[in-house]
Symmetry: C2
Subunit: 300 residues, 2 copies
């Protein structure tokens, strides 16, 4: 089944306790599509400026990623983000932000992508997410990501979005902002009542929770001390999840649970190095080997 | 195999967002022994004053708990603790503390308890924990709990204790204080080098991590929105863990992992109500039923 992602393509500079790295390929759509491409083809929609390094484009093209929806805007500049992490690296502090192309008219979904079956709307304004959704024919599954900012500042649009999507992925802080609830199980169940058929609450190093109907799946994170750069972990998580689902037949609770196993593993590889380096050296066999290891070490 | 617990017996007053309850049976040894008694007999060592309500003693005696090591000191008073929880209830704020009997000479381990096979040294000063340990013949497994205070204020004694115990259970904040490490996987592995054969890091609503040799087990918490009072959750967790181990044959990694499943389930029942009320209405079958549910919802 076809899988589409809409989101940002960025040039990042990241500082963590393990070093500083500049001019990196970043952005939610980059991370998502690279992670998802281990499972099958990915259609990418985004925009960059002429400053976007050719090697980054080549890296995406070297995967099963259809970059025909990636607009190159001659008079614009690529989105740039700089951030730093300290201590347990649970949260980035943004040190520089240049929206550039992200402040312009967003790229449209190309006609040949409109029949996409699985769609991931990476974090952006819910107004834009709704607009992107309206350009699609009849997707089988639409999953959206978000940020605390959109929940609190554009709440009405966000609530409208929730009624039109299949699944929502968000972190625990965002779930608390959305529901006002401290207990994440209560929060997940409350979000289901706002529209989506399933909700995934990401808790970083503490794993994730899946809610659908009256069922819950709770997984720890893959336990690792190899954490160099958590940037993009959430997008690789979503890429692993959607990549697995789009490659399979069923989208029932069992498939959703298993997709979170893959999501966890993709995120665990991503954080082992800066930018996409943690995913570049691995094969699909490395992923399934770690999935089995994860299954063993989270069994009792 | 025989199971011994040394720890506090308290009269608690607790306030949570779900209500206030006073004059409750509390203390680490009470919670531990009640939880462990679902699996087999428990030997309890502690001390109380004449103000200790007869009904609390009857409650402990109604279980398979040997209270012959519970000293009643006519001229003393029972330890009293009052605390309140807010928001996600991850941490208690102590509002009143009357050490009373805990400030006196600690109770000795009675001669008929000295042959105990499994021993849980609940949170107290490592000096006292070492002294208690020296009163035992040749325990097969000794597990200690602790608090941040003992790690930072009596570090040398605590490090000496680590060289004499089989296992350490502590929470993530304490693991960070002990090792200086933010990453809990790195912290767990570092603690193993300090002496114990295994380490369990408790993360409250985020589950737990087990470290032994080069192996790791990572479990989520049992996902529940029924949280009324988290007091004693850690001691019920330890009670479930040690109760299961003492009732079984093996103490290998597989048994330790399974003991954490039971530990998680016992803690999940305990937090559903004030004091021991969450455990009082349940049977061993309720525990195994929830264990299987937990196994299912944490599988992928």
């Amino acid at each position: 089944m076809s899988l589409l992602v809409t989101g940002s393509i960025a040039i990042d500079s990241v500082q963590t306790p393990f070093g500083k790295s500049e001019g990196l390929l970043g952005g939610s759509a980059s991370y998502f599509s690279y992670a998802a491409s281990f499972f099958g083809p990915v259609r990418l929609v985004g925009a960059v400026g002429p400053d976007f390094p050719a090697e980054f484009l080549e890296l995406l093209k070297s995967r099963d990623i259809d970059t025909s929806g990636l607009e190159l805007r001659p008079n614009s500049k690529t989105f740039r983000w700089a951030g730093s992490y300290k201590g347990s690296m649970n949260e980035a502090v943004t040190t520089d932000l240049q929206l550039n192309v992200l402040a312009e008219t967003p790229p449209a979904i190309p006609p040949n992508f409109r029949d996409s079956d699985f769609v991931f709307l990476a974090n952006t304004s819910p107004t834009l997410q709704l607009d992107l959704l309206s350009q699609l024919d009849a997707p089988r599954m639409v999953v959206a990501d978000t940020r605390d900012h959109w929940i609190s500042e554009t709440r009405d649009d966000f609530l409208a979005l929730l009624k039109k999507i299949t699944g929502l992925v968000l972190n625990d802080f965002e779930a608390k902002i959305l529901t006002g609830l401290d207990n994440m199980v209560a929060a997940g169940q409350a979000i289901l009542k706002l529209g989506p058929r399933f909700v995934v609450i990401k808790k970083g190093e503490h794993g994730c929770l899946l809610f659908a109907d009256s069922k819950i799946c709770a997984l720890p994170a893959y336990p690792t001390s190899s954490v160099k750069d958590p940037t993009g972990a959430g997008d690789c998580f979503a890429g692993g999840m959607m990549g697995y689902l789009a490659a399979g037949e069923a989208v029932d609770f069992s498939a959703l649970s298993k997709s979170l196993g893959f999501a966890t593993v993709l995120a665990s590889f991503a954080i082992e190095d800066f930018s996409l380096a943690g995913l570049q050296g691995i094969t699909f066999e490395d992923i399934t080997t770690r999935l089995e290891k994860f299954r063993t070490l989270s069994s009792f």
